[in-house]
Symmetry: C2
Subunit: 99 residues, 2 copies
DNA sequence: ATAATTTGGTTTATAAAATAAACTACTTTA
DNA sequence: TAAAGTAGTTTATTTTATAAACCAAATTAT
Protein backbone atom coordinates (compact mmCIF):
# COMPACT_ATOMS: atom_id res chain seq x y z
CA UNK A 1 0.00 0.00 0.00
CA UNK A 2 2.07 2.90 -1.30
CA UNK A 3 1.71 6.25 0.39
CA UNK A 4 -0.01 8.31 -2.21
CA UNK A 5 -0.49 11.64 -0.44
CA UNK A 6 1.68 14.71 -0.65
CA UNK A 7 4.30 14.87 2.04
CA UNK A 8 4.80 18.29 3.63
CA UNK A 9 7.82 20.19 2.36
CA UNK A 10 10.10 21.51 5.10
CA UNK A 11 9.64 25.26 4.66
CA UNK A 12 13.21 25.85 5.70
CA UNK A 13 14.48 23.93 2.73
CA UNK A 14 11.71 24.88 0.34
CA UNK A 15 13.43 28.16 -0.46
CA UNK A 16 15.57 28.63 -3.51
CA UNK A 17 18.56 30.19 -1.81
CA UNK A 18 18.55 28.02 1.30
CA UNK A 19 18.23 24.94 -0.87
CA UNK A 20 21.17 26.06 -3.01
CA UNK A 21 23.28 26.62 0.08
CA UNK A 22 22.43 23.20 1.45
CA UNK A 23 23.06 21.66 -1.94
CA UNK A 24 26.57 23.10 -1.91
CA UNK A 25 27.31 22.28 1.69
CA UNK A 26 26.20 18.69 1.36
CA UNK A 27 28.98 18.12 -1.14
CA UNK A 28 31.88 19.78 0.63
CA UNK A 29 33.55 19.82 3.98
CA UNK A 30 32.89 23.52 4.41
CA UNK A 31 32.39 26.69 2.40
CA UNK A 32 32.79 30.33 3.30
CA UNK A 33 30.44 33.26 2.84
CA UNK A 34 32.24 34.62 -0.19
CA UNK A 35 32.20 31.29 -1.95
CA UNK A 36 28.53 30.66 -1.18
CA UNK A 37 27.72 34.13 -2.41
CA UNK A 38 29.49 33.67 -5.72
CA UNK A 39 28.14 30.18 -6.31
CA UNK A 40 24.55 31.11 -5.58
CA UNK A 41 24.61 34.61 -7.02
CA UNK A 42 22.82 35.85 -3.93
CA UNK A 43 23.18 39.31 -2.45
CA UNK A 44 25.12 39.53 0.81
CA UNK A 45 22.07 40.59 2.75
CA UNK A 46 19.92 37.77 1.53
CA UNK A 47 22.66 35.23 2.10
CA UNK A 48 23.33 36.50 5.59
CA UNK A 49 19.68 36.20 6.54
CA UNK A 50 19.23 32.74 5.05
CA UNK A 51 22.41 31.40 6.66
CA UNK A 52 21.06 32.60 9.99
CA UNK A 53 17.87 30.66 9.45
CA UNK A 54 19.68 27.50 8.52
CA UNK A 55 21.92 27.87 11.52
CA UNK A 56 19.05 28.51 13.89
CA UNK A 57 17.38 25.39 12.58
CA UNK A 58 20.57 23.49 13.36
CA UNK A 59 20.99 22.55 9.71
CA UNK A 60 24.37 24.20 9.38
CA UNK A 61 27.20 25.29 11.63
CA UNK A 62 28.58 28.79 11.17
CA UNK A 63 32.02 29.70 12.40
CA UNK A 64 33.19 33.28 12.35
CA UNK A 65 36.88 33.95 12.27
CA UNK A 66 39.55 35.64 10.21
CA UNK A 67 41.42 34.73 7.09
CA UNK A 68 44.54 36.81 7.40
CA UNK A 69 43.12 40.11 8.55
CA UNK A 70 39.76 39.77 6.83
CA UNK A 71 36.67 38.43 8.55
CA UNK A 72 35.57 35.06 7.32
CA UNK A 73 32.35 33.14 7.86
CA UNK A 74 32.76 29.43 7.34
CA UNK A 75 29.73 27.18 7.03
CA UNK A 76 29.33 23.44 7.18
CA UNK A 77 26.34 21.14 7.15
CA UNK A 78 25.35 19.26 10.30
CA UNK A 79 24.03 15.73 10.63
CA UNK A 80 20.63 17.17 11.28
CA UNK A 81 20.98 19.24 8.11
CA UNK A 82 21.92 16.16 6.14
CA UNK A 83 18.87 14.33 7.48
CA UNK A 84 16.58 17.23 6.70
CA UNK A 85 17.93 17.44 3.18
CA UNK A 86 17.33 13.74 2.63
CA UNK A 87 13.81 13.99 4.01
CA UNK A 88 13.11 16.95 1.79
CA UNK A 89 14.15 14.98 -1.27
CA UNK A 90 11.90 12.15 -0.17
CA UNK A 91 8.98 14.52 0.34
CA UNK A 92 9.56 16.13 -3.04
CA UNK A 93 9.25 12.76 -4.70
CA UNK A 94 5.65 12.56 -3.60
CA UNK A 95 4.86 15.43 -5.96
CA UNK A 96 6.23 13.74 -9.04
CA UNK A 97 5.46 10.60 -10.98
CA UNK A 98 7.59 7.92 -9.38
CA UNK A 99 11.05 7.40 -10.87
CA UNK B 1 30.76 20.65 -20.21
CA UNK B 2 27.81 20.06 -17.86
CA UNK B 3 25.85 23.04 -16.63
CA UNK B 4 26.81 23.12 -13.01
CA UNK B 5 24.97 26.21 -11.75
CA UNK B 6 21.62 26.36 -10.02
CA UNK B 7 18.74 26.92 -12.36
CA UNK B 8 16.10 29.38 -11.18
CA UNK B 9 12.96 27.80 -9.76
CA UNK B 10 9.72 29.12 -11.26
CA UNK B 11 8.19 30.85 -8.23
CA UNK B 12 4.73 29.93 -9.43
CA UNK B 13 5.50 26.26 -9.09
CA UNK B 14 7.84 26.53 -6.13
CA UNK B 15 4.91 26.62 -3.75
CA UNK B 16 3.70 23.56 -1.91
CA UNK B 17 0.02 23.91 -2.71
CA UNK B 18 0.39 25.03 -6.30
CA UNK B 19 2.85 22.23 -6.91
CA UNK B 20 0.44 19.70 -5.44
CA UNK B 21 -2.36 20.98 -7.64
CA UNK B 22 -0.20 20.77 -10.74
CA UNK B 23 0.97 17.33 -9.70
CA UNK B 24 -2.63 16.15 -9.59
CA UNK B 25 -3.72 17.87 -12.77
CA UNK B 26 -0.80 16.53 -14.79
CA UNK B 27 -2.11 13.01 -14.21
CA UNK B 28 -5.77 13.49 -14.96
CA UNK B 29 -8.01 14.98 -17.58
CA UNK B 30 -9.56 17.38 -15.14
CA UNK B 31 -10.33 17.76 -11.45
CA UNK B 32 -12.83 19.90 -9.60
CA UNK B 33 -12.38 22.22 -6.66
CA UNK B 34 -13.76 19.78 -4.13
CA UNK B 35 -11.48 17.00 -5.27
CA UNK B 36 -8.40 19.21 -5.30
CA UNK B 37 -9.29 20.44 -1.86
CA UNK B 38 -9.63 16.96 -0.39
CA UNK B 39 -6.52 15.61 -2.10
CA UNK B 40 -4.33 18.50 -1.04
CA UNK B 41 -5.87 19.13 2.36
CA UNK B 42 -5.88 22.84 1.60
CA UNK B 43 -8.40 25.31 2.93
CA UNK B 44 -10.93 26.64 0.44
CA UNK B 45 -9.55 30.14 0.63
CA UNK B 46 -5.99 29.11 0.00
CA UNK B 47 -6.98 26.81 -2.84
CA UNK B 48 -9.12 29.49 -4.45
CA UNK B 49 -6.26 31.97 -4.39
CA UNK B 50 -3.67 29.53 -5.70
CA UNK B 51 -5.92 28.31 -8.51
CA UNK B 52 -6.31 31.93 -9.57
CA UNK B 53 -2.57 32.34 -9.75
CA UNK B 54 -2.11 29.20 -11.80
CA UNK B 55 -4.86 30.27 -14.12
CA UNK B 56 -3.49 33.78 -14.52
CA UNK B 57 -0.13 32.27 -15.41
CA UNK B 58 -1.88 30.20 -18.04
CA UNK B 59 -0.80 26.97 -16.37
CA UNK B 60 -4.34 25.72 -15.85
CA UNK B 61 -7.77 26.31 -17.31
CA UNK B 62 -10.66 26.91 -14.92
CA UNK B 63 -14.23 26.34 -15.95
CA UNK B 64 -17.08 27.38 -13.71
CA UNK B 65 -20.39 25.64 -14.08
CA UNK B 66 -22.89 23.59 -12.15
CA UNK B 67 -23.13 19.99 -11.13
CA UNK B 68 -26.84 19.57 -10.63
CA UNK B 69 -27.70 22.71 -8.74
CA UNK B 70 -24.35 23.09 -7.02
CA UNK B 71 -21.62 25.32 -8.37
CA UNK B 72 -18.64 23.43 -9.68
CA UNK B 73 -15.17 24.63 -10.58
CA UNK B 74 -13.37 22.29 -12.94
CA UNK B 75 -9.64 22.63 -13.55
CA UNK B 76 -7.35 21.19 -16.16
CA UNK B 77 -3.71 21.66 -16.98
CA UNK B 78 -2.71 23.49 -20.16
CA UNK B 79 0.17 22.76 -22.50
CA UNK B 80 1.96 25.72 -21.07
CA UNK B 81 1.41 24.30 -17.61
CA UNK B 82 2.79 20.96 -18.65
CA UNK B 83 5.88 22.65 -20.08
CA UNK B 84 6.36 24.73 -16.96
CA UNK B 85 6.07 21.64 -14.79
CA UNK B 86 8.68 19.82 -16.85
CA UNK B 87 11.03 22.80 -16.71
CA UNK B 88 10.57 23.02 -12.98
CA UNK B 89 11.57 19.39 -12.56
CA UNK B 90 14.62 20.01 -14.72
CA UNK B 91 15.57 23.06 -12.67
CA UNK B 92 15.10 21.16 -9.42
CA UNK B 93 17.56 18.56 -10.59
CA UNK B 94 20.30 21.16 -10.55
CA UNK B 95 20.00 21.28 -6.77
CA UNK B 96 20.56 17.59 -6.25
CA UNK B 97 23.33 15.14 -6.97
CA UNK B 98 22.69 13.85 -10.46
CA UNK B 99 20.58 10.68 -10.76
C1' DA C 1 49.24 60.48 6.12
C1' DT C 2 44.75 60.50 4.71
C1' DA C 3 41.05 60.13 1.59
C1' DA C 4 38.62 56.99 -1.38
C1' DT C 5 37.48 52.36 -2.39
C1' DT C 6 36.85 47.58 -1.51
C1' DT C 7 35.78 43.60 1.37
C1' DG C 8 32.88 41.02 4.25
C1' DG C 9 29.50 41.19 6.19
C1' DT C 10 24.76 42.87 9.38
C1' DT C 11 20.58 45.39 10.14
C1' DT C 12 16.48 47.46 8.78
C1' DA C 13 12.86 48.47 5.50
C1' DT C 14 9.90 47.06 1.79
C1' DA C 15 7.58 43.99 -1.26
C1' DA C 16 5.54 39.74 -2.09
C1' DA C 17 3.53 35.45 -0.66
C1' DA C 18 1.03 32.26 2.06
C1' DT C 19 -2.51 31.51 5.07
C1' DA C 20 -6.49 32.16 7.83
C1' DA C 21 -10.68 34.34 8.93
C1' DA C 22 -14.75 36.25 7.52
C1' DC C 23 -18.14 36.49 4.30
C1' DT C 24 -21.52 35.30 0.25
C1' DA C 25 -24.93 32.76 -2.13
C1' DC C 26 -27.26 29.02 -2.57
C1' DT C 27 -28.94 24.12 -1.26
C1' DT C 28 -30.33 20.54 1.66
C1' DT C 29 -32.02 18.69 5.85
C1' DA C 30 -34.49 18.79 10.32
C1' DT D 1 -38.90 27.80 8.03
C1' DA D 2 -34.89 27.67 10.62
C1' DA D 3 -30.47 25.50 10.94
C1' DA D 4 -26.79 23.47 8.84
C1' DG D 5 -24.05 22.29 4.92
C1' DT D 6 -21.76 23.13 0.23
C1' DA D 7 -18.91 25.62 -2.78
C1' DG D 8 -16.66 28.79 -3.13
C1' DT D 9 -14.63 34.33 -2.90
C1' DT D 10 -12.79 38.31 -0.63
C1' DT D 11 -10.25 40.58 2.72
C1' DA D 12 -7.09 40.80 6.51
C1' DT D 13 -3.10 39.09 8.86
C1' DT D 14 1.14 36.85 9.28
C1' DT D 15 5.20 35.18 7.38
C1' DT D 16 8.87 35.24 4.03
C1' DA D 17 11.92 36.87 0.72
C1' DT D 18 14.47 40.44 -0.96
C1' DA D 19 16.63 44.77 -1.40
C1' DA D 20 18.54 48.85 0.37
C1' DA D 21 21.12 51.00 3.67
C1' DC D 22 24.52 50.70 6.75
C1' DC D 23 29.02 49.39 9.44
C1' DA D 24 33.85 48.22 10.56
C1' DA D 25 37.98 47.11 9.04
C1' DA D 26 41.36 46.55 5.22
C1' DT D 27 43.39 48.00 1.05
C1' DT D 28 44.70 51.15 -2.48
C1' DA D 29 45.51 55.66 -4.48
C1' DT D 30 47.07 60.63 -3.83
Amino acid sequence: MPDNSFKPLDPLLHSELRLAVMSILIGVDSADFVYLKSETGATSGNLSVQLDKLQQAGYIEVKKGFKGKMPQTVCSITDRGRDAFASYVEALRSYFPTQ
